[in-house]
């Protein structure tokens, strides 16, 4: 996921919250120390057996603390730290070992556990100190700006504030200014510090590479199974539509023609009526085939590519759709198709639920990914788990595509989808708008 949402660095509340978070981080270091000490203690007691009993709960306590840090990093700075596998002690014990001994042994072989422990050793000495820098600046600054003016007379001769010997009104004012400077610096530094801290935590706390790979393989296997299912269902649908639609109509057509041929001499009027019927049936058959083709691959998409296909969608919509495209010619066909059906679904959703008269669609290809944004000024509150949006996600999944929905109650709703892909042609299409 991308680095954090736009944090209003200038707002006072944001700055105070960041300082509060630094404070929290430095205090939480105590908890890290405590949990780390528990685990070390349990490890030291392993030789005399008690350790086997103590290790699982100690490790679980440490994991709770480290989970809290992962959560903070994600919420405060948008830095996502991939969680490790759950601790073995929380799962059923491995088969060939029993009870707490087995669990403790499994723990000792768990890479995530050692990652936690390594972090518990480093966090109080490094992370917490880092977080304390802006905090210290603010607190020392407050001491200079808010306390010095009132107490310098009482403190007598030896009262130094930083490098200023405070013994007169001018030096007191200098201390006041310096204090304000420290406070400002602390506030300014806090967001950067939090980001640095999150990045540093990620280095130590992110799941081991093998875990990441295992997860990735599981995801790929899952999405491959999904896409095969979807494909099979799609083939079944096409087969059924052909069988019940066009094919059946063509059979009727043959029968009616046969009947008309027999009637031709005997009853020309009846034959003519039948032939009219034949014409109507053949048109219905064509209509069926056309709809089927459109459902498989809209012809305009095949002919013109994503930009014009979306423009065509817009012309069929009863909403006012403004379109901006910056696409480098054609994209790989599967990507165009997935993008098209996803945008069609989002546009249909906007038409059905948003209540907005106008929709804005932006298509672009940047950083090796197709990006489509559909925005409406409607009532918002869209359900991200609705069946339509789930369908869109399933379509994007095989491409490692993502759909991000932002729809607070009261609107506006913005859906952004991204599909990683390279463009297949260097040709540039200009951007243009249509209604």
């Amino acid at each position: 996921m991308a680095q954090g949402e736009g944090r209003p660095g200038s707002s006072l509340r944001g700055a105070l919250a960041d300082i509060g978070r630094c404070q929290l981080l430095s205090l939480a270091a105590l908890a890290v120390c405590g949990a780390g000490a528990l685990v070390i203690g349990a490890l030291l007691l392993l030789p005399i057996g008690i350790g086997f009993l103590l290790l699982p709960p100690a490790a679980a306590a440490l994991r709770r603390v480290s989970d809290r840090y992962r959560d903070w990093a994600a919420r405060w700075t948008g830095t996502v730290i991939s969680p490790p596998q759950p601790l073995p002690s929380r799962q059923a014990p491995p088969e060939n070992s029993t009870g707490r001994h087995g669990r403790a042994r499994a723990l000792l072989g768990d890479a995530g556990f050692w990652h936690d422990l390594r972090w518990a050793w480093a966090e109080p000495s490094t992370g917490a100190l880092l977080a304390a820098v802006p905090l210290a600046l603010v607190e020392y600054g407050l001491f200079g700006a808010a306390v010095q003016p009132f107490v310098w007379r009482l403190l007598g001769d030896g009262n130094w504030y930083a490098f200023i010997l405070v013994d007169s009104t001018p030096t007191m004012l200098a201390a006041l200014l310096l204090g304000l400077g420290f406070v400002t610096a602390g506030f300014k530094l806090a967001p950067t510090t939090l980001r640095l801290h999150a990045r540093w935590s990620r280095r130590l706390l992110a799941a081991p590479r093998t875990t990441e790979l295992v997860r990735r393989i599981e995801h790929l296997a899952g999405s491959r199974a999904d896409i095969l299912d979807v494909q099979a269902a799609e083939l079944r649908r096409i087969e059924r539509d052909l069988h019940d639609g066009a094919q059946a109509r063509l059979v009727t057509l043959g029968m009616t023609l046969d009947e008309a041929t027999r009637l031709l001499d005997r009853d020309p009027a009846a034959a003519r009526a039948l032939l009219h019927e034949v014409r109507a049936t053949s048109q219905r058959a064509l209509q069926d085939l056309r709809e089927l083709v459109h459902g498989v691959l809209p012809p305009i998409l095949a002919d013109r590519g994503l930009g014009d296909a979306v423009r065509s969608l817009a012309l069929d919509s009863h909403l006012d759709v403004r379109i901006e495209t910056a696409l480098p010619g054609r994209l790989p066909a599967p990507v165009e198709s997935a993008g098209y059906f996803a945008v069609a679904e989002l546009l249909a959703n906007a038409a059905k639920h948003s209540g907005a008269p106008e929709v804005h669609i932006r298509l672009s290809h940047t950083d090796g990914a197709l990006r489509a944004t559909v925005t409406d000024e409607g009532r918002g509150g869209a359900d991200p788990d609705g069946s339509g949006l789930q369908g869109v996600r399933r379509r994007l999944d095989p491409f490692d595509g993502t759909l991000v929905l932002h729809s607070p109650p009261g609107g506006p709703t913005t859906a952004t989808l991204e599909i990683p892909c390279a463009s297949s042609s260097p040709k540039t299409s200009s951007s243009s708008g249509t209604d």
């Binding site: 014409r279 053949s282 048109q283 083709v293 012809p299 065509s312 919509s317 209604d435």
Partner: protein, 214 residues
């Protein structure tokens, strides 16, 4: 009347040629790909071109592109475009020039020979013929937006046929009403939609489409 025909499927090309010849058209060329079509249109200066959208070598919208290209050097060249499907975007592109003498029909319409031949004649005479499917979708869309809400069902029927490029006489015949009734409905539609009435059939259809496109 001299016709140039472009269609890549032999059977259809043959059938179209025969149909047109039977109705007194002089098919001066029947080509099967985009570049040949463009060349023929520019060299032969036919009275009307009947063009399939999807042609070799790209099998995308080669025919449409060739027709639009030819119309850039000869703006009022009458072109009737045929396609296996109709798309609003293509309809817009064809109408964008505003000169008329344009037709856009589903290939199925060929089976109604007289209507198809009428369409070729209308286009050759500088008129505009849109497929009922394009019109139906435009009407449905403007209906959903409430822009045609003040029309009566009868007026909507007249509007749809009018937009397809039919003359008052043809509309009257289709709806089983008198021509004067059609004229009355037409006047009512124009005043309700605030379209300037005009004697010119082609401008009439363009005005309707321009209105529906909003």
């Amino acid at each position: 009347m001299r016709v140039v025909l472009a269609e890549d499927l032999f059977l259809l090309r043959d059938g179209l040629t025969r149909t047109l010849q039977e109705h007194g058209f002089d098919v001066i060329a029947a080509v099967d790909n985009g570049p040949a079509l463009l060349r023929t249109l520019l060299e032969e200066e036919p009275d009307v071109a009947v063009v399939d959208i999807r042609l070799p070598p790209t099998f995308t919208d080669e025919g449409l592109q060739a027709a639009l290209e030819a119309r850039r050097s000869r703006p009022a060249l009458p072109v009737l475009v045929l396609s296996q499907y109709v798309d609003q975007l293509y309809a817009h592109e064809l109408l964008a020039g505003g000169q008329g003498a344009i037709g856009y029909l589903l290939k199925d319409r060929i089976t109604h020979t007289t209507q198809f031949v009428d369409a070729v004649r209308t286009v050759a005479a500088g008129g505009t013929v849109m497929d009922p499917q394009v019109i139906a979708r435009l009407l449905a869309r403007s209906d959903a937006r409430g822009t045609t809400a003040q029309l009566t069902p009868r007026e909507l029927g007249v509007l749809a046929l009018m937009a397809e490029g039919r003359s008052n006489a043809a509309v009257a015949q289709t709806l089983f009403i008198s021509e004067s009734a059609v004229a009355k409905h037409t006047a009512a539609i124009f005043s309700k939609l605030r379209i300037e009435p005009s004697a010119d059939d082609n401008r009439r259809v363009l005005a309707v489409l321009a209105y529906l496109k909003r």
